[in-house]
């Protein structure tokens, strides 16, 4: 078995060889600009873009004309939220989102707050899911947009999207969802879920980096957004810039593969994920699952190994690529705000590991990772003064720690 083993598929995924194969001609002989309307090179590129648009639309139950290409989900989220805030400024100035959103949503909302938009950040319950009653209560006659992610990138928890969509439709409020982690992993349908805007990205679904899309509903209601990048008026004026043809071909192919293989793949990944969980729980005590296990992506597991610090755990399993919510592994030196939002205490975040399984993982990988983790957690608990105290029957939550 080859190491390192990659179990960080919420961060990014390896490009599927079939996707790469589909892309290659568009770097070579079919290099045209899709906006060149008057020669063969342009027509070929345009045909490839049209095909990609259709493949993406088919994955989410949309029509091709509702797909706007972007550089990725960060741009899609920015375009959706800022674009709606600007376009519907006469209608209202209130946006509702929630605490465990990706920074691409949270920081976009924070930016808008500086420009007079009021934003409500809904808390989540301990299982990571928002309270629908709190959502209903937060809505005012000034609310123009609700932006709630489909599935979380750290804990994999899936929000009640169809219910949220229904509430928004009843109130005549637009509903945007960042579906980066959900698309291609679980069935997503913009019609049945009443989604008005949806962000997705290529590199989370075995496609290339640097390409994403925003779904913008065209019928009941017809959603309008103000462009955030101005120029040649591409993408029906909503996003200017020469289209990334090879990227779009790759994103389209990636969506197509997900659509045909999702039901099989999600079953396989859920079984692998469950076997990882079962092995860890059989070998070790004091493990805690972060977020709902019931409403969760099939490829996600987020576990806190109590009394062991996450970065030291990663150091012990350096042949396994996973990530931690520990402060020591983050650029900001703050523990994961997603785990903090669950209200389970900072020490839980410091001890957490996120496993993101993917298309190229095997049972052999899972067995290896479970064994190695068991070994390293046992070793680090031998080293842990907290584990020692707990085993002596001391309640460490009652200790007056000197926090500076």
């Amino acid at each position: 078995m080859k190491t390192p083993i990659y179990l960080d598929n919420h961060a990014t995924t390896r490009v599927d060889p079939r996707v790469l194969e589909a892309m290659l001609p568009y770097f070579g002989e079919h290099f045209g600009n899709a906006a060149s309307r008057n020669h063969q090179f342009g027509w070929e590129a345009e045909a490839a873009v049209d095909k990609g648009r259709k493949q993406i639309a088919d994955l989410i139950g949309a029509t091709a004309k509702e797909i706007i290409f972007t550089s990725g989900a960060t741009e899609s989220n920015n375009l959706a939220i800022k674009g709606v805030a600007e376009m519907y400024a006469n209608k209202g100035n209130h946006i509702i989102t929630q605490a465990t959103e990706h920074k691409a949503v949270l920081d976009t909302c924070k930016k808008l707050e500086k420009h007079g938009i009021r934003v409500t950040y809904l808390p989540v319950k301990q299982d990571g899911i928002i309270d629908l009653d709190q959502l209903r209560e937060a809505i005012t006659d000034k609310t123009i947009l609700v932006s709630i992610m489909y599935a979380n990138n750290e804990i994999g928890v899936i929000q009640p999207i169809a219910e949220i969509g229904k509430i928004c439709k009843e109130k005549g409020i637009l509903f945007h969802t960042d579906a980066v982690q959900a698309c291609g992993k679980v069935p997503v349908n913009v019609i049945t879920d009443n989604i008005d805007l949806l962000s997705l990205s290529g590199h989370k679904i075995y496609g290339p980096k640097g390409v994403g899309a925003l779904y913008v509903r065209r019928k009941s209601p017809r959603v309008q957004i103000t462009a955030q990048i101005d120029g040649g008026g591409h993408e029906r004026g909503m996003r200017s810039g020469t289209l990334n043809v090879p990227g779009i071909v790759g994103l389209g192919e990636a969506c197509q593969i997900c659509r045909t293989e999702m039901s099989e793949e999600s079953k396989r990944l859920a079984a692998l994920r469950d076997s990882l969980k079962d092995k860890l729980f059989a070998n070790l005590d004091e493990l805690y699952i972060n977020g709902s296990m019931e409403h969760r992506l099939p490829n996600n597991l987020n576990v806190s190994f109590a009394y062991v610090e996450g970065e030291s755990l990663l150091m012990g399993i350096n042949e396994v690529a996973v990530s931690s919510g520990s402060a020591c592994t983050s650029a900001t030196l703050e523990p994961s705000y997603v785990l903090k939002a669950l209200g389970v205490g900072d020490e839980v975040a410091h001890s957490s590991i996120r496993f993101g399984l993917g298309r190229f993982n095997t049972q052999e990988h899972i067995d290896y990772v479970a064994d190695r983790l068991t070994e390293v957690v046992r070793k680090l608990r031998e080293l842990s003064p907290l584990y020692e105290m707990v085993k002596e029957g001391i309640d460490i939550s009652k200790i007056q720690w000197a926090v500076d």
Binding site: S312, L333, H350, L383, L386, E388, W401, V403
Partner: protein
Amino acid sequence: MAYSNKVLDHYNNPRNVGSLDKNDPSVGTGMVGAPECGDVMKLQIKVDESTGIIADAKFKTFGCGSAIASSSLATEWLKGKTVDEALAIKNTEIVNELSLPPVKIHCSVLAEDAIKAAISDYKKKKSVVTTEAVGSNA
């Protein structure tokens, strides 16, 4: 984060892991940090009463690799030193020895604090005849 070879060595082969009897009057215990900050170090010294030299040192650490390495190194340095010599150990010496990057300097500070806490606990026991000794969480 890329670790220095010395940090990796202490992480892979931590020296002097364990616990001494905290009720022993010749043992000083220091416990510093807090679980919610992601670092807790327990460092203990056992002083040879006749010579005043630290005969043994043990540690247990909840924290990142650099925190583990800093406390492991501290126990190595403590052994064979007098209490006063031990008090002179500076966090910057730990930083230099382990080549800690700037974001990990707080690990060395914590190790210095743990040394000082252990010595202070030992001295407190010496001055108080009644040996109602408890591990210091100060």
